[in-house]
């Protein structure tokens, strides 16, 4: 399983357990289907920080970064990679 795929699985579990939202597929549009509203988004950001240690600045977020599990996984993976590279450079 690739890093992103396992991330997607973790995110799907996080949506189910913490946000209580069922996501049928990795490409399901969370915004258009109303699965992610403003209350859910706040919870999601909290959970991303808790589970992955990723702090997300809501000010810099773009809607497309939140659109699907696949998009969120890509976003989180990039943040984790950047952090790992930053740590390696130190």
């Amino acid at each position: 399983m690739s890093v992103d795929a396992s991330l997607e699985t973790e995110l799907a579990a996080l949506f189910a357990d913490e946000l209580h939202v069922t996501v049928p597929s990795r490409e399901t549009d969370l915004l258009a289907t109303g699965r992610l509203d403003s209350v859910g988004l706040v919870e999601l950001l909290l959970q991303l920080e808790k589970h992955f240690g990723v702090r997300v600045d809501i000010e810099r977020l773009e809607l497309d970064q939140l659109r699907s599990l696949a998009a969120i996984a890509t976003f989180v993976a990039a943040r984790l990679r950047r952090r790992a590279e930053g740590a390696a450079a130190d």
Binding site: D17, H20, V21, R35, D37, S38, V39, I58, E59, L63
Partner: protein, 371 residues
């Protein structure tokens, strides 16, 4: 020709019911509003989704009546409070007609700067109570803007009364009046026999006048139950609409909303019958008892739906299983966000479930608490 607007209110069947709103209903409100707010061709006005909310008819047709510019707010933008603020800034909007959940969200993320939105002249809201701390947040930052609270259920079209704040509320506990009736409408605070209650006393709030819908779409029974003939009527067509809200009429001529006469609450802009959630929970067959209450959070978040329950089998019933089961039968906004398992529910002296202590417990837990 009639314009049918669907109200986001699930009826007793759990399916949304339609409220018929006529073109004349909308035209009356717009004529009043354009005059009262002084809407002009130079205005730049926000238009909010979804279009099945009756409020959108004011955004769209109110703007075009004045020959002003309508700026549609993309439906998903409200997720990102900074982007909403940026839209008001960049589009140089002069009027922002919003709902408390959006105003609260923007306040919570502190996206409004001091003296922000220099072009903005009016902020209006409708749909539910805007928490006073949130209003104070907005008014302190935008002293150049006029703030108007609009009140009214869909059944009486867009809004039936208004209150423009004369100044920033002095305290966070202040109750913001719903104000006075718009032209052509009347707010009546009546007792059970439909007689006006004395000034300052609590009664049921009824609406009369040009905004009244002909009734619910294909539901004559429900229409008869909510739209009543009024004895003080000038003609046979005169009716009043029972809002289900409790209110007072003060000596200052202002009406104040106090809460619901039933178990209905407003959360995130949706009207929710708590009894319907309880019915859905009972139908699961896994609970011995349950009670669903609305608890007001202390800051900007408004009302949270909370459930206290006694499971038949504590080993298999958890908030997660209950949530998942409810999510399959109810829309997401009706699924309780907070849960508490109890050995038994508190009862009143006559054996009914006592919701008050449950409500107080949930409120005392604050907004963060989730099981």
């Amino acid at each position: 020709m009639r314009l049918r607007v669907k109200d986001p209110n699930p009826g007793s069947t759990g399916t949304p019911k339609g409220v018929v709103i006529t073109h004349d209903n909308v035209r009356h409100f717009i004529e009043w509003a354009v005059g009262y707010f002084g809407t002009a061709a130079t205005d730049r006005i926000s238009g909010h989704p979804p279009l099945h909310f009756d409020l959108s008819t004011f955004d769209i047709f109110g703007t075009f009546t004045a020959g002003a510019e309508l700026h549609l707010v993309p439906p998903e933008l409200s997720l990102l409070p900074h982007k909403v603020a940026e839209l008001i800034r960049v589009a140089e909007l002069t009027q922002w007609f919003s709902v408390p959940s959006v105003l609260n969200y923007m306040a919570k993320f502190d996206v409004v700067r001091s003296g922000d939105f220099p072009s903005l002249r009016r902020v209006l809201w409708c749909g539910e109570v805007l928490p006073t701390p949130s209003l104070i947040y907005w008014m302190r930052r935008l002293p150049h803007v006029t703030f108007t609270n609009l009140y009214g259920p869909t059944e009486a079209t867009i809004a039936s009364s208004y209150y423009t704040l004369p100044a920033c509320p002095a305290s966070e506990d202040e109750v913001i009046p719903i104000g006075r009736a718009c032209a052509g409408e009347e707010l009546l605070v009546l007792d059970d026999a439909l007689r006006p209650v004395p000034l300052g006393e609590v009664g049921d709030l009824y609406i009369r006048g040009a905004g009244l819908s002909p009734g619910y779409w294909r539901d004559a029974d429900k229409t008869r139950g909510a739209f009543l003939p009024y004895s003080g009527s000038a003609g046979p067509a005169d009716r009043i609409y029972r809002t289900g809200d409790l209110a007072t009429l003060g000596t200052d001529g202002l009406v104040r909303y106090l809460g619901r006469a039933d178990f209905q609450i407003k959360t995130r802009g949706y009207r929710v019958e708590l009894g319907e959630i309880e019915a859905a929970l009972h139908a699961l067959g896994t609970l011995r008892e349950c009670a669903v209450v609305g608890a007001q959070s202390r800051d900007f978040d408004g009302t949270a739906i909370c459930c206290a329950y006694v499971p038949a089998d504590p080993a298999t019933v958890t908030p997660a299983t209950l949530r998942a089961a409810l999510a399959a039968v109810l829309p997401p906004y009706m699924v309780p966000s907070r849960w508490r398992m109890l050995d038994a529910l508190p009862k009143t002296s006559n054996g009914k479930i006592d919701r008050r202590p449950l409500q107080e417990q949930f409120a005392a837990e604050g907004v963060e608490a989730a099981v």
